[in-house]
Each structure stands twice: as C-alpha cells, then as structure tokens.
C-alpha cells in the first residue's frame, strides 16, 4: 500500500511499510527523534516524535503511514512539549556538553538546538552512574545514556550478538552489558559492530577517535539536524570521522533497503519556534 499523507500542510508520499516518521524524513520533512533510526525496528520510547494524527496523539516513529492521514507536528503545543521532553533527558542524566567528546556530533545536543533549548528548566537529578572504560576500544559513559535502546537493537538485530540490555524500573533504569562480569571488556562486542557506533549521545564512544574531527568542524556544527536527518546536508568525510554510521551514503542505502522512495524533494522547514523562557 502506498499513498499520500499530509504533514503540517505538506503533502508527503509514502510507500508500503513506512512509518510516518520515515515517510516524512524521506520527503525532507523533519520530525525530531532520538530513539528512532532508519533501518531499525521502531521502538517509540523517547516520545520526541509525538504528533497529532487525525486529532489523536501518537508517535510518528511507530505509527504506520496511511493514505489521507492528517498529521500535525509543529504546533506550538507539540513544540513546547518536545522541548520539555528534551530537557527531561538532560536533567535525568549528566550531560556536560562543553566537555563531552561527542559535542557537535551528538544527536541529543543537536535536537536540543533544534528545539531552541536554552536551559535545562528542571532541577537536576544528579544521577550517580559509573563509567565503564574496561574495553580496549570502546568506552561507556553511563552518565549520557538516554535509554533509547538503539545499541540493544543494533547488537541484537544487526550484529547478532545481544551485547546490551536495559534493566531496572522507572527512574532506576540502567544500561546493562551481557557479560559474566557485567563489564564491556568481557562481552562479545567489537569495535566494528554497529552497536559501537549507533549511540545518539556520547554514552558509547569509540576510543581514540574523539577528536579526529576538531570541535567546530563536526556534523552539527555545519548543518542543523533537520537537514542531516533528511539527508539534505552533504557531510564531508572529516566531519563524521570516527562515526561511520553518520555516512550519508550509508543512510541513503538503509533508506533504500527500507523501501524509501529515492526522489527527495525539499520541503521548507519552519523556523525554530520562538519559545519564551523564564518569566
């Protein structure tokens, strides 16, 4: 089944099996997300892509596109809540962008910029989380984990290894490693695994690659995430150094594999919302 749906007044074609978010993305319409990734099974936990579909609230990453759907994504209310949800993620963990190796290549940070987030708004939780630097090539900084489940899915679905899992309940969620010691060094992960490169934040990092691209010359330094996600930006090789998963040709390939149409026609994005802060 294929057809057309309408997102914020823009007609968006979709092909069989596409979710709303993928139909939008391949048509150049950006709906923010963190736990979604083209070519991955939908998960629907971060709730950033919450949209109104025919008047009902739903997540664009899990809801199949259907002919004639009317989708509202950029209403002031939805944009406001999106910003708040992003701020919730920031206060839940410990995100020190200025000193983070992932700064400029980080989707969480880029989404926050897109949301025009200027502060954390909520009181910090000051979570106590340990770092796992045991593996020779891969580092896990649990402070930055947002429980998007992408590494879990990557390891299971792409690498066939099941290295990661998410344990705990409620605010006590934690990322766990499938190894006898619970340490990454004793797991089956290898630096070539997709799971080592899929993290949208700086929680899972490949060692000795953090500064191959200098700050200021990274993916989101040059292009807003709304363009990168929709593959409208041409990423120079150096920008994404150490992060092969951000290679746009790969993204395009995976979109192809998912039956995405290859015709990208640009749709103009609305400017960042003007959200008043403070009082």
């Amino acid at each position: 089944m294929s057809g057309t749906l309408c997102i914020d007044g823009i007609a968006v074609p979709f092909s069989d099996g596409q979710t709303i978010i993928e139909a939008a993305r391949t048509a150049g319409v950006y709906i923010p997300y963190l736990c979604h990734r083209p070519g991955y099974a939908p998960y629907g936990s971060c709730k950033l892509c919450t949209v109104k579909v025919n008047g009902r609230t739903n997540t664009a990453c899990t809801l199949p596109a259907a002919d004639g759907q009317t989708v509202i994504s950029n209403s002031p209310d939805l944009q406001h809540d999106r910003q708040r949800i992003t701020q919730m993620l920031f206060v839940e963990g410990n995100h020190f962008c200025p000193s983070c190796e992932k700064s400029g290549n980080c989707q969480l940070q880029a989404v926050a910029y897109h949301q025009n987030m200027l502060d954390n708004h909520y009181p910090h939780f000051y979570a106590q989380r340990e770092m796992d630097a045991s593996h020779p090539d891969i580092l896990i900084d649990h402070d930055r984990c947002i429980f998007c489940n992408l590494c879990v899915r990557a390891s299971k679905e792409k690498d066939g290894k099941d290295v990661f899992g998410i344990a705990g309940r409620g605010i006590h969620k934690r990322l766990v490693i499938n190894s006898p010691s619970g340490k990454l060094k004793d797991s089956e992960i290898s630096v070539d695994d997709e799971a080592a490169h899929v993290c949208p934040t700086g929680a899972i990092l490949v060692k000795r690659s953090a500064y191959l691209a200098p700050i200021g010359e990274r993916i989101y330094d040059g292009h807003p995430i709304s363009e990168v996600a929709c593959e409208k930006a041409v990423i120079k090789a150096g920008e994404a150094s150490g992060y092969p998963s951000c290679d746009p040709t790969k993204l395009a390939e995976s979109a192809q594999q998912n039956g995405g149409p290859d015709s990208h026609y640009a749709a103009t994005m609305p400017p960042a919302p003007d959200i008043k802060h403070g009082r």
Binding site: C46, G165, R169, G170
Partner: protein, 593 residues
C-alpha cells in the same frame, strides 16, 4: 545450587516464557537471584543474561542482593496509612531492630514498604515471604517480632494473622444469582457458540478492568483471526490501590471465573488459558490450583470438555512478581513471556497480536465472572440493569473512612451519595473513584454516578472524611506512580519523579506561585506524551485536586515573588554540629522579599 536450578528448569519445562516463575522459586530458595543462577538459567534457556537481570530488577519482589529470611513488606496504600500504618511500620522496625528498606546484619529479617496489597478493607496489611498479613496492630507486631527472633516457620504462626475475610456487604444482580458449575458451558453449547456471542453482544457487557471495551467485539475480533493458536488470559493483577473485588471473586467464585474463561475459549477457539495472578495474592495460589484440579477431574477442563468432541481447554496459573504496570494488558503479556512488564506499542492490539504474537483475549476477572451469568440468563437479562451505555452491575471495593468497608455490588448509574449512605460514611470530604488513576470527587459532587459515561472505575472506591489532609492523599498517589512507572518512555520515567518532587516542594511550603504553575505544566507534559495509561493518569490526583481545591494549594504557597528552593539555615546544620554550637548567631534568617 546446580541441582536446584535444574529442578526449577524442569518444573518450568525449560520454557523461557516461565522465567518469572523460575525466578520466584530461586528468590524463595536463596533470598535473591544469585549470579550463578543467572548464568545457569541463561545458558539453559538460551536467553541473554541481560534479560534475566532486567526481569530481576523490574519486579519489586525479585532482588539481586539477599533479603532477610523473613522478608516483610508493609502496604503503603493511603487507606493503610489512614489506619495508622506509619506508626506501625516504625514500631515494627524498632522491634525487629532493622531500618525500613534494609536487611538486618544477621540476615534474619528485611523490612520494606510496598504498593497496595489489596487488603484495604482489613488493613494495615503486609506480606511476610509473600503471604498476606492482615489487621496488623501493636499486639500482633509484638508476637510477630518474637516469632521471627525464635525463627518459627510461618506454619507455626497463628493462622488468624493470615486470615483474609471477604466481606460481601451488598450482593446485587450477579452475586445474588445462584450458579451451578458447568451451567454456563452447557448453556453456551446448547444455544450455540455464535448465538452465545450474540447474547454477550446484546448484553452490552464492557470490560470490567476499567477501560470498558466492549467484550463481544473483543471476542469476535479474536475469533476471526486466522493466525493460531488463540489465547485466553484472565487479568488478575489487581494492582490499583483500593481495589480488592477480584481477590474476593477468586477466593469465593474461582470456579465461575474459570468457567467464564472456558466459555470464552469455546467462542474464540482457544485451547490454552492463563491466569495472571498478582504476587500479593499468593495466599490464593494453592486454593486456585485445587479448583483447577477439581474442574479437570469433573470434565470441565482438559480434553473434550463435558463430552464436546474437540473442545480442549486448560488453564495455567502464572504469578506476577510485583509491578502495577502488569495490569496493563500488553505489559502483562510481556510479563507472561518472561520479560519486564513494558506496555507494547499499539497498533497492533493484543487481540490481533498478543501472547506469543498470537491473537489473545485479555479480560478482567469480573468480566469472565459476568459472562457466565450472561451465558446462562441471556443478554437482555443483563442489559435491563444499569444505564444505556453501561449495562449490568459493578462490584466496588469500598475502603477508607466508612463504618462498613467491603464488597458492594451496584447497578451502573448508582450515585456516589447512595453508596456512601450504604457503607456508613459521614462527614465526607471526598471520594477517590477508580483508585489513584481515577477521579477525586469532592463532597460538592456526590450526585455523580458510577458509569462509563460519568465515573468509570475498575472497582476502587476510597472514602475520606473531613479530618483527612488532601495533600497526604495526593502525595501518596503521586509517589505511587513514580514508584510504579515502568520507565520505558521519557515523559513518564522522568516526569513522574519531577511531579513527586515539585509537589513535595509545594506541600512543604517551599513553593511560590510560579511553582504551582510549573506543577500544572509538568502534569500536562506527562499526561499528553506518555506511552500508556499509567503515564496518562499519573497526574490525575494532582489535576483533579487542583480543580477541586485550588484554595488549599494556594494556601501552601509562600507569599513572595521569589522563594528559595531550599532552607538556607538548614544547610548549615552540619557546620553547627561540627562547631558544636547552636546559639542565635549560628543561625541565618531566611531572606524574604
């Protein structure tokens, strides 16, 4: 340990979907889930150890570190608190020389709070090694403390400590109707399966778990699915604080509940049923197994039921392990598959893709119970009672400030006022209808009615008189949701804790007007963006009391445009203690403007 785990695996037939049952057995044996057990189970079941860790950490009654040989939980429902639970808990901690939330150094005893154990009509209540304790008082606690110090086995404890009464105060349409085992199955086959489904349809029976989905539509949809097998699940995870009517049904009417599942199985074409029993109702487990055995022996379960060729159906009981969210149908299915209880993404609905990804009917205990009478008496008998949109009767679990707590059955459309009169409640401040996820009704709205079109409820009905503090109630409910959030989605995982903290700030008198505004805003973010019903209703206690009693909230606020979020002087307490002085000069007066 090796051989014990092997026996546990054999008992569960090496089926990974029975992981919860296996972990419950391991927990009971070793007082926690040891690493060696995790390794052995993961290898034998071919599942990643992360799944076992995730399950062990998700459920309240499973632990990765050893608990006491007497593991005591005290129910922290608001009704238990109203019966003096806090004092008793402290007394118990003192008697047992253990802090709440800790294991005593000698490993003999551990003491914790737990969410409502479904004994609100006979609280303060608790659990010892999973078994329900009712009507706790200082005298009982003295005896319990002694028995524990003597290391007396539970079988030597006074049986009255474990006695669960089922006070049916006002039977109605269903509870007054006599029933003979097998009658509903016989009537179903005599009338015909399609015809019986039509009766369920014309009865307009709607799901009694609270959501009110039309039962016949659910059953018909499932019956029409081509994928096989089909499953019947009875949702007995009665976790909503203040409700205990399923406890009563399973205690006194288990045969009928199983019969309701059996006739559903006949209609949807299922040969396998599951009863998901909440961990807190462990005391019913053996008794329910005996009922199942008796039904098998009398041809009401098993192969060719009542001589109907090819109608095979049996029921397995699976225990939960302490998680309110497992009352949500898709979370329950995840739990039944041996995973953490995280609600699934919908669509597809469980009726199309449920247990083991097959078409599944999940219905509440009371729904199956009602279906048996409809099968015997017909749809119009049922539809004549109640209102147009809410036919039949509803079982209510009434607790709190009333003379006669217990089970009441009312036709839908009954007013709150009438119910309050029946249970002997006076000087009423308000009623929480439908538990924390339901609605708070102040004494200015008592003419409202129990019905899907007005006040829908799964059965919880908590009464509060004018001596109660509204904030004690709202905080208890808000903390409950933060404790029970599964943590899958951002707005609920983070938002419920933000709500808890923000409410505390205001209640403790540290809030300004802007904080009240913020509280309201967090409510809306959580409500409008969460993944499932828990997040959708987590803010209800605050929102509904904000609407009913705005003046009380305003009274809590500091009358200033700027309010520090903390007490400056209190932060100096450590310094004062170290300096060993407490004179006036060592104190700050909080800056006020």
């Amino acid at each position: 340990m090796n051989s014990f785990i092997r026996s546990v695996l054999a008992e569960a037939d090496y089926k990974p979907e029975r992981l919860l049952q296996m972990l419950r057995a391991v927990q009971a044996q070793y007082l926690h889930i040891p690493n060696a057990a995790i390794e052995q189970l993961a290898a034998a079941l071919h599942i990643p150890r992360t799944q076992i860790i995730a399950v062990a950490e998700f459920y309240s009654f499973l632990h990765l570190t050893p608990q006491g040989r007497y593991d005591i939980h005290i129910s922290d429902s608001i009704t238990d608190r109203m019966l003096g639970k806090e004092k008793l808990l402290n007394y118990l901690a003192e008697k047992l020389r253990v802090n709440v939330g800790e294991v005593r150094a000698d490993g003999l005893v551990s003491l914790n709070n737990t969410s409502c154990t479904g004994m609100c009509d006979q609280g303060p209540a608790g659990l010892v090694n999973g078994y329900a304790l009712t009507r706790l008082d200082p005298a009982r606690i003295d005896v319990i403390a002694k028995l524990i110090e003597q290391q007396a086995p539970l079988s030597d404890w006074p049986p009255e400590f474990f006695a669960v009464e089922e006070p049916v105060r006002k039977p109605g349409l269903l509870l007054n109707q006599p029933f003979e085992n097998g009658a509903a199955i016989r009537a179903t086959f005599a009338r015909g399966l399609t015809e019986t489904l039509a009766e369920v349809d014309s009865s307009n029976l709607r799901g009694r778990g609270g959501a009110g989905f039309k039962t016949a539509l659910k059953w018909r949809t499932c019956a029409q699915q081509t994928a096989t097998p089909h499953y019947v699940i009875c949702n007995a995870d009665e976790g909503e604080p203040g409700t205990f009517k399923d406890r009563m049904l399973l205690d006194l009417y288990a045969d009928q509940v199983f019969e309701g599942m059996t006739l559903c199985a006949a209609i949807i074409g299922s040969d396998q049923g599951l009863l998901y029993l909440r961990a807190e109702y462990l005391f019913l487990y053996e008794q329910l197994q005996r009922v199942l055995k008796r039904r098998r022996d009398s041809g009401l379960l098993g192969r060719n039921i009542l001589g109907h060729d090819g109608f095979d159906f049996d029921i397995e009981i699976r225990m939960g392990a302490g998680a309110y969210i497992c009352g949500e149908a898709s979370a329950q299915i995840e739990s039944l598959e041996g995973k953490p209880g995280i609600p699934r993404v919908k669509p597809p609905n469980s009726v199309i893709c449920g247990y083991q990804r097959k078409p599944t009917v999940v219905d509440n205990v009371e729904t199956f119970f009602a279906a048996t009478h409809i099968a015997v008496q017909g749809g119009s008998w049922f539809a004549e009672v109640g209102t147009a949109q809410s036919t039949g009767s509803k079982l209510l679990s009434i607790s709190g400030d009333c003379a006669r707590p217990g089970i009441y059955e009312y036709p839908f459309g009954t007013s709150i006022e009438e119910i309050l009169q029946d249970c002997g409640a006076d000087d009423v401040m308000g009623v929480q209808v439908g538990g924390p996820s339901g609605t708070f009704i102040s004494n200015r709205e008592l003419q409202r009615r129990i019905a899907f079109e007005d006040l829908s409820t799964a059965g919880s009905f908590m009464v509060f008189n004018n001596s109660r503090n509204i904030f004690d109630i709202v905080q208890n409910f808000t903390d409950f949701f933060a404790h029970e959030s599964c943590g899958f989605c951002t707005p609920c995982r983070v938002g419920t804790t933000l709500l808890k903290n923000q409410l505390r700030k205001i209640v403790e008198g540290n809030g300004a007007a802007v904080d009240l505004e913020e509280l309201n805003e967090i409510c809306l973010v959580v409500k409008n963006n969460s993944h499932c019903g828990l997040g959708d209703s987590a803010a209800n206690p605050i929102l509904s009391t904000l609407a009913s009693y705005p003046e009380l909230y305003l009274k809590q606020l500091k009358q200033s445009s700027f309010t520090p979020g903390f007490d400056l002087d209190a932060t100096l307490a450590v310094a004062r203690r170290m300096a060993q002085r407490d004179d006036d000069a060592a104190h700050l007066s909080q800056v006020e403007n």
